[in-house]
């Protein structure tokens, strides 16, 4: 079990960097290699990083083949309006899942794939289950949900082709102190729009719990789908009140203007966040502790409280020469 080579796609993102830093402390992990279009967001001591565009199939194949990973943790998923706009996010996610997963399938030592997905994959169309578990029908109703469906499909196909187990972690909306999140940005505005007719409940997960779930899943070679959600739920109005923001109740057509204004203020409201505000987003996370022996610790209320406490700008004093 010792000395496992772990490939982390999407290491440049906050979640990827966090997973890599946790992997560095794991006794079973040997070499760690990361691929992303952005450099890692935290200091990593023994991880090797390659800045590669997901469209550069030849270079990705070369790096992955030479590394020959035992475990692939695929985190290269761009949430719309987090690090990239919806169109770019869709393109990057699709390219990354095809190029990196396909390259990993050719690695002779590959034993396990752990891929990131989200509870957006269940969809929130009319009649969709209030709190779907992992066996619930998948019927994505947003662009992000459909992107995640593609990631899951490709991961499963590659796993089948390579004869390795595939574990899918379906994360609730991830929030963290430095994590770019469209939901987090919307909720942190001074005035936050919410649906007066719905005020639906949703859940979230903090980035540290999500990252720990990936590390535990990789260590155990988890297979199948698992929801990763914080305990508890909160409604949009309650979240706004916890942050002591000004709630702006909206009913219908004025959402068009609210989205435009929010966009101009630097907090675009993508389709899946609109869906969350109007229809809510809950999921049953009870299978995770029974399968992995791990459960997120930070409750949905605590995540929201922390969201409002995080500094908007962290000022680092100038380094003095010794």
């Amino acid at each position: 079990m010792h000395g496992r080579r772990v490939l982390v796609s999407g290491m440049g993102g906050e979640l990827g960097s966090l997973v890599a830093s946790l992997l560095e402390g794991e006794p079973w992990v040997g070499a760690i290699l990361g691929i992303d279009v952005d450099p890692p967001r935290r200091r990593l001591r023994r991880s090797e990083f390659h800045l590669i565009d997901p469209s550069d199939n030849a270079r990705i194949a070369d790096v992955v083949t030479r590394f020959d990973p035992h475990v692939l943790i695929h985190l290269a998923v761009w949430e719309p309006d987090a690090r990239a706009g919806t169109t770019a996010a869709k393109r990057l996610t699709s390219q990354a899942c095809h190029s990196i997963l396909a390259a990993a399938a050719e690695a002779p030592s590959l034993e396990s794939i752990i891929a990131r997905s989200g509870i957006e994959i269940y969809g929130r169309g009319r009649g969709a289950l209030t709190r779907p578990d992992e066996d619930a029908p998948i019927n994505p109703s947003s662009t992000y949900g459909r992107m995640l469906l593609e990631v899951e499909s490709v991961a499963r196909d590659v796993g089948e082709r390579a004869g390795v187990g595939v574990g899918i972690l379906r994360l609730a909306p991830v929030l963290g102190p430095h994590l770019p999140s469209p939901l987090g940005r919307v909720l942190r505005q001074p005035a936050v729009p919410f649906s007066l007719l719905a005020n639906s409940p949703f859940t979230v997960v903090i980035d540290s719990d999500a990252a720990r779930a990936f590390v535990v899943a990789a260590a155990q070679g988890a297979t199948g789908s698992l929801n990763v959600v914080a305990p508890g739920a909160i409604s949009t109005m309650q979240a706004i009140r916890r942050g002591r923001r000004l709630p702006i109740p909206l009913v219908g057509p004025e959402w068009l203007f609210a989205r435009q204004i929010s966009y101009l203020l630097g907090a675009p409201v993508p389709e899946h966040v609109m869906e969350l505000i109007h229809r809510g987003r809950l999921a049953d996370g009870s299978r995770l502790p029974t399968v992995l022996g791990f459960a997120p610790r930070v409750t949905a209320h605590e995540v929201i409280d922390r969201l409002y406490k995080w500094e908007a700008i962290v000022r680092i004093p100038t380094m003095q020469a010794a």
Binding site: R241, R244, G280
Partner: protein, 205 residues
């Protein structure tokens, strides 16, 4: 960024929604209004499991809101949230019903709640007479059997103008250890008969 506004905290707590969207505080606030309409007498609540999930099936009379007042009265009697199936999924009614404990009526939704260890009350088919039990949906019984939870018949009797109402919970319906095809259909018929017996035994409300 600091606080933008400060609202009074007592009228609407910020942590009262549970993992299914039920708002215990809202129900507490609405209970006095519900008490103006119904004065519910509960019997047989001791039959219900203390921790595990169970499917409760009650009779339904048009516009009587049997499942809602039964769910609230049983929540009060058992100290556990009792959810009711059959909420709408259209705003604003759907979200409001969700906040007061409603679930969608689909067998998948009810089955999910039962697997999660919840007490869920659903109604039999609506009847034109307040003291007649309608047909029970076998798909809901199948969902309960799949979840491995107990099934209890519940009689809920009320009058259109009076406040007096009664909710009587029956003993757990006996289920064969070895399941056979059409067990759910047979059980649905049995549950309906047991609800009718409870209604007949409940007397006039």
């Amino acid at each position: 960024m600091g606080a933008v506004i400060r609202l009074p905290s007592s009228w609407y707590p910020t942590d009262s929604v549970d993992e299914w969207g039920r708002d215990a505080h809202l129900i507490e606030r609405l209970t006095p209004f519900a008490a103006m309409r119904w004065s519910v007498d509960v019997g047989g609540a001791h039959h219900l499991p203390k921790r595990s999930g169970a499917l409760l099936v009650t009779n339904s009379w048009r516009f009587a809101l049997n499942t809602i007042y039964s769910a609230w009265a049983l929540s009060d009697a058992t100290g556990r949230p009792v959810r009711f199936g059959g909420r709408s999924d259209i705003a604003p009614f759907g979200p409001v019903m969700q906040r007061i404990g409603g679930l969608l009526g689909s067998p998948a939704e009810i089955g999910g709640a039962l697997r999660a260890g919840q007490l869920v009350i659903v109604s039999a088919a609506s009847s034109a007479h307040p003291r007649r039990a309608g047909a029970v949906d076998p798909a809901l019984i199948a969902a309960s059997l799949a979840a491995g939870t107990a099934i209890h018949p519940v009689a809920s009797v009320s009058t259109p103008f009076g406040r007096a109402a009664r909710v009587e919970v029956g003993q757990q319906v006996r289920v064969r250890v070895r399941q056979r095809p059409l067990d759910d259909v047979e059980l649905a018929g049995l549950v309906r008969r047991q609800i009718q017996q409870l209604i007949d035994g409940a007397g006039e409300s």
